[in-house]
Symmetry: C2
Subunit: 338 residues, 2 copies
């Protein structure tokens, strides 16, 4: 089959690779209905993260079960399923606590920007929809696989509650879906930090009540002003850089909650800042599996439409264009159809 | 009056200073019944923190109201009161959220190692006991002023719950009272990290179920073993050094809670450690005022005895000996009687 390989900085190839097979009894093979490019795919694409070898790309996916291994109990060929970027057994102590992305036997799912995908630990990882979805639901079901689950975790980890004042740092797909999640959790005021008109429009559609374009000290001062000098109850850091983290730490009120869900690259926290700021801090790779049943149900009954973040729809063969558009920020997020 | 001044590293003097007076309408003057030396007093005593001028020492106190300013409504001379190291108004938005130590108008209370003490914002800061306490209660009421309130915050911030597995890093007075607090909150297993037999004995008396003497990688491995490889639900970091913080971060389970209540000195947190460890992190100067009514009630009905941490009882005039004993760790904590 033809699938997506990253050879190095800027070098995405759509090329012939071996078709995935069931390797272990707990595996499933799924025929990918849709996949996409993640913000985290851009780190190696930009050469900031170097694997030193060609890598099969893609970890966001939904599709139809093609084949299951002999140990798989809960799934059968023909079902439409969604999984997360970490395969998890859904039974270990960490899974039981809801931290599936720290599962004792977790495995990274890779190679989803392809027509077929092997998913390990299929019973624990994949969640089936009630029936085959219509085409209109596919983008939102795909979003649930990562960006919506991650935005939801960001809001959950930042303890957004009815009436909360929330700040979202980052206007990528995760940030925008963090806005939507905070809105669904009842935040009264949602301040989105964004300087891109198209992203601001989606943020407003998802429930943002205020937009701040300024960054750094100016951005911090504007949040302080909007919150009567108090700071926000909840801050969602959805980027992963030192600059955005500093911003997130400095706009939360004492005793408030800052979450961070973008893989931090070289980020350091000063002990004194966290101490005298009285910040609650929590983040990590989103335990998307915890949220899948609930988020799938919300998409299924059309109460949410996270698929709005896909503003570029391409055939899989044009995957290199998808990377380029996201890298240059001409697209928020590209959906790929094999 | 004669009171305690620190002139520089190791240079504690008990000398004649002006008697404190009501300066502002919200002030109270209290006649100190007992004061003590704090672990944080040892930083400047060791020269690690340099004020560049003589400083009136002491911020833990209980005593009898001597005089109140014209704006003080809730207190009257003759009442026995306890306050915290930060004076707070108990009405600002941060106080209302329970973060009195981030009060908008907070002031550090200093000069408590003395016969008389000026406490600003007296209505918001001081809490009176139901009546004059017996001598037997004084050490425990004094402990509530800082170390017990701080240990309680450590356990609260680390979300200790009935059945929790808890690790306490640090066997100073705060660590020991963190053990007691975790026990009172229902922790099933409490692992105290200590290599001092006398402190281990108090830890056991306060509810520790396990003692680990090892530090560093060995200490981490032993906690992992005791917790079946899972890690602890709650970890209380009660020291404030990089080494103890690293220990605390590495023994918590994914999704678990680490608190830190010792002023961090040059501590850095690596973003990747917090991210991939799925740690919840929260700390800061303990909002002792939040807990005072409850903790005073617990001391009053003798359900707790935090005063056990005082193993050296000296007249105030011997304050220099108290510093020396705590610096050399021959005493856990010294109580000073004017």
């Amino acid at each position: 089959m033809y699938a997506t390989m990253l050879y190095g900085a800027g070098d995405v190839r759509f090329e012939d690779v071996p078709t995935p097979k069931v390797q272990l009894p707990a595996d499933a093979i799924i025929r990918v209905t849709a996949s996409c490019v993640c913000g985290s795919d851009l780190w190696p694409y930009r050469g900031i993260q170097d694997y030193g070898r060609p890598v099969a790309m893609g970890h966001e996916y939904c599709g139809v079960v093609e084949e299951v291994g002999s140990a798989v109990k809960s799934l059968r060929p023909g079902q439409f399923v969604i999984g997360s970027f970490f395969a998890s057994d859904n039974t270990c102590p960490h899974c039981q606590q809801g931290y599936h992305s720290s599962c004792d036997v977790r495995e990274i799912v890779g190679g989803a920007q392809a027509p077929l995908l092997r998913v390990p630990l299929a019973d624990g990882t994949l969640v089936a929809t009630p029936e085959m979805p219509g085409d209109d639901l596919v983008p939102s079901l795909l979003a649930v696989s990562d960006v919506m689950g991650t935005g939801w975790f960001a809001a959950d980890a930042a303890q957004v509650r009815p009436g909360s004042t929330t700040v979202v740092v980052g206007d990528g797909a995760v940030g925008l879906l963090g806005v939507l999640s905070a809105h669904l959790m009842g935040a009264e005021r949602i301040i989105a930090m964004s300087r891109h008109p198209a992203r601001q429009a989606i943020a407003r559609q998802f429930g943002a009540t205020d937009i701040i374009e300024a960054r750094g000290e100016d951005g911090i001062a504007q949040v302080r002003e909007l919150t009567n000098g108090i700071g926000a109850d909840s801050v969602l850091e959805c980027v992963g850089t030192q600059q955005s983290m500093d911003q997130a730490i400095k706009v939360v009120r004492p005793g408030g909650y800052t979450s961070f869900v973008g893989v931090p690259h070289g980020v350091q926290f000063r002990g004194e800042d966290l101490f005298f700021g009285h910040v609650h801090l929590h983040g990590g790779p989103a335990p998307v599996r915890r949220y899948l049943p609930d988020l799938i149900a919300k998409v299924w009954d059309k109460s949410i439409n996270p698929g709005l973040v896909f503003d570029l729809d391409l055939p899989l063969a044009q995957v290199a264009d998808a990377y380029k558009a996201m890298d240059q920020r001409t697209a928020i997020k590209a959906i790929l159809r094999p």
